[in-house]
């Protein structure tokens, strides 16, 4: 029996042994050429939301082959987002292990959480040659949930929330909170928002509108303002609640379920954080060709999504090389094409080399989504992350449980 216990102990210890590889290069002081050399032939594990076939196709059939050809890097993509990434990194960091994930697709709340646990490598963005083209002065890009990115994540794409409707069923589009309430009253059980990120983003836009516009809640989280304006938000949502889908007693679990309810005609509207999604979903055959997207006059949140490198990543140099390619003019141009993904670029077109500006301007127009220039005027900046945390908690208390 003693031998068995010793055997088990050895096996357990072997299982716990870290397979760490020490980073040879001092990345912070390395030149880009050194970083590129270090990146050659490595494997980069990227974790990202993999819920959209077009995005998956772009990553798998464009980005991965491109970095393979350029740097002989094998880009392995795994599915996971938001809290999954945070939980994984927290566990790995607690165990003192090297990361299974080198880089990840993140935005706002995940960036905030990863900063909380000190889980990000950086600053690294300035070291990427293509960062010179990124429009970092644009507050929709240079700030993530009001937090300056400070080189800790690289901007990758920029989107704005839209409401999606069927033009054959809805012609009077609600433009204000009052009109939205009237719309819900006139069409009971046909409007709602989801219980996840998209729904919260929608509520943030309502909160900003109640507070008096974009600048009212700009900057750090303000408890006093939140207390005052959130009360009005809950009062508004309580008035709206009886006319929502299922009388507001429950909400779709995520935006995919909302899309399905919209496609089957159970809802008159769905929402998307990607202003080009209506084109994607019509092309996929999920939405009818009469589907259109719009931004109400009270505005919707415009935000960017980013690429981060895990603090415990094994191949940080290779991750930097991949990210540098992903923010390159050619990769961004490809990504913005609605046939490919339709994701807005984070590059400043005036800074681009050669004829890239012309190429960006000549991307085939989106057929069903509104033009970016049209909705920009109603774009609202993301609020500080604490607003989202509090809204999520209080939405549960005040509306779901209320």
């Amino acid at each position: 029996m003693k031998k068995i216990i010793i055997l088990i102990t050895i096996l357990a210890l072997a299982a716990c042994k870290s397979d760490s590889k020490n980073e040879q290069l001092d990345l912070k002081n390395a030149s880009w050429q050194q970083i590129e050399t270090e990146a050659l032939g490595k494997t980069v594990n990227m974790m990202m939301w993999a819920g959209d076939p077009k995005i998956n196709d772009y990553m798998k059939n464009y980005v991965a082959p491109a970095v393979k050809e350029k740097y002989d890097i094998d880009l392995e993509i795994s599915s996971g987002q938001g809290n999954t990434i945070v939980q994984l990194l927290m566990t790995e960091m607690q165990a003192g292990k090297d990361g299974n994930v080198d880089m990840m697709w993140i935005n706002g709340e995940t960036f905030y959480q990863l900063r909380q646990i000190n889980g990000l490598h950086g600053p690294f963005v300035d070291q990427l040659p293509n960062s010179q083209f990124v429009d970092l002065d644009n507050p929709f890009i240079g700030k993530d949930f009001q937090e300056p990115i400070e080189g800790m994540e690289a901007p990758w794409g920029n989107v704005q929330m839209t409401l999606i409707y069927d033009s054959e069923k809805t012609d009077q589009l609600p433009q204000s909170r009052e009109e939205l309430l009237a719309f819900a009253k006139a069409n009971p059980n046909k409007f709602t928002f989801d219980n996840q990120f998209t729904g919260l983003t929608f509520m943030k836009a309502l909160l900003i509108d109640i507070a008096g516009g974009e600048q009212a809640l700009a900057g750090d989280f303000n408890e006093k303002k939140y207390g005052k304006y959130s009360k009005a938000l809950w009062a508004y949502l309580r008035e709206l609640k009886p006319y929502l889908w299922k009388k507001g007693e429950t909400f779709p679990e995520d935006v995919a379920q909302m899309h399905q309810l919209f496609a089957s005609g159970e809802l008159l509207m769905t929402m998307s954080n990607n202003d080009a999604e209506v084109d994607n979903k019509i092309n996929e055959g999920l939405f009818p060709e009469s589907a259109r997207a719009y931004v109400p006059e009270f505005g919707t949140i415009q935000n960017s999504h980013y690429l981060g490198i895990a603090k415990n990543a094994v191949d940080k140099a290779a991750a930097m090389a991949v990210i540098n390619f992903m923010i390159s003019p050619e990769a961004q141009l490809k990504k913005q094409n609605p046939e490919v993904w339709g994701d807005g670029t984070v590059l400043d077109l005036d800074k681009l080399p050669g004829d890239f500006k012309t190429k960006f301007q000549n991307i085939p127009a989106r057929k069903y989504a509104p033009k970016r220039s049209e909705i920009q005027k109603n774009a609202l900046q993301e609020l500080a992350p604490e607003y989202m945390i509090r809204l999520a908690e209080d939405f549960r208390k005040e509306i779901i449980n209320g």
Binding site: M1, Q94, I117, N195, K246, T250, S264, A392, N401
Partner: protein, 284 residues
Amino acid sequence: MIKKLSIAIFILIAAVPVLLGLGYALMYSLGLTGILSEGFTTTHWEETLITTTFWKSLGFSLYIALVVMLISLFFSLWIVISWIKQLNKGSLSYITYLPLAFPAIVMAFFSFQLLSKSGFMSRVVYKMGWIDSLEQFPDWTNDEFGISIIFSLCLLITPFFIILYSNLYQNERIAELKALAITLGAKPSQVIFKVIVPILLKKSAFTIMLFVIFIMGTYEIPLLLGRQNPSMLSVFIVQKLQKFNLADIPQAYAIAVIYILLIASIIALVYKTRPTFFNSSSSS
């Protein structure tokens, strides 16, 4: 030696990870571990125990589990007693066991497509002219009684009990007992309710209890088909574990530990008061 080795491997594979997980969850819930931990605290336990949401969630999970078990037991007993011969061969056995091939999430989507207001049933009823619009179809998904959750879980669980009962039917020589009872003058209803059903239920009592616990912990089906309030326990825990507030994670672990302790206490109580319950061979 081989026996000891088997026991050691079993402990290493089955018991140690569970106990380590429970220990980790307990430490996390008490603030003794976790990157954002600020030291020992009982706050998360207090918050969990005083909040009505937890108790509502526990009650709702128990309600779903009991209703699903009742319905599944009724149908499985009925099918086995009525068609025991056909169950062992032919298309009936194939149809009966088909739901076993469905993963829970697929079954949830299937039920959603079937039972929602814009789903298949609603459209059939509308086409038949029984309702004037799809809107009039009753709320069977994301509803307060968990109808579609119960429907999906029954579809998944009933085949397990059909297999169990058809095997018990053979092993307990029920056909012979049935013939004996009839010879002694029992009516058909007496044969079913005084002989067959009591034997099958008694023999499967422990399995039924395990399935109640299993149903209480299901996740995918109530996530898609349930409500946010009340939600089943697993959905409630994941909600706390994976939402935007990292400070909620210890509370998620506290809920999980309290739930495990409650279940373990019930099993321990049953074991202490009725040890034969755990031994199907001596319980008949």
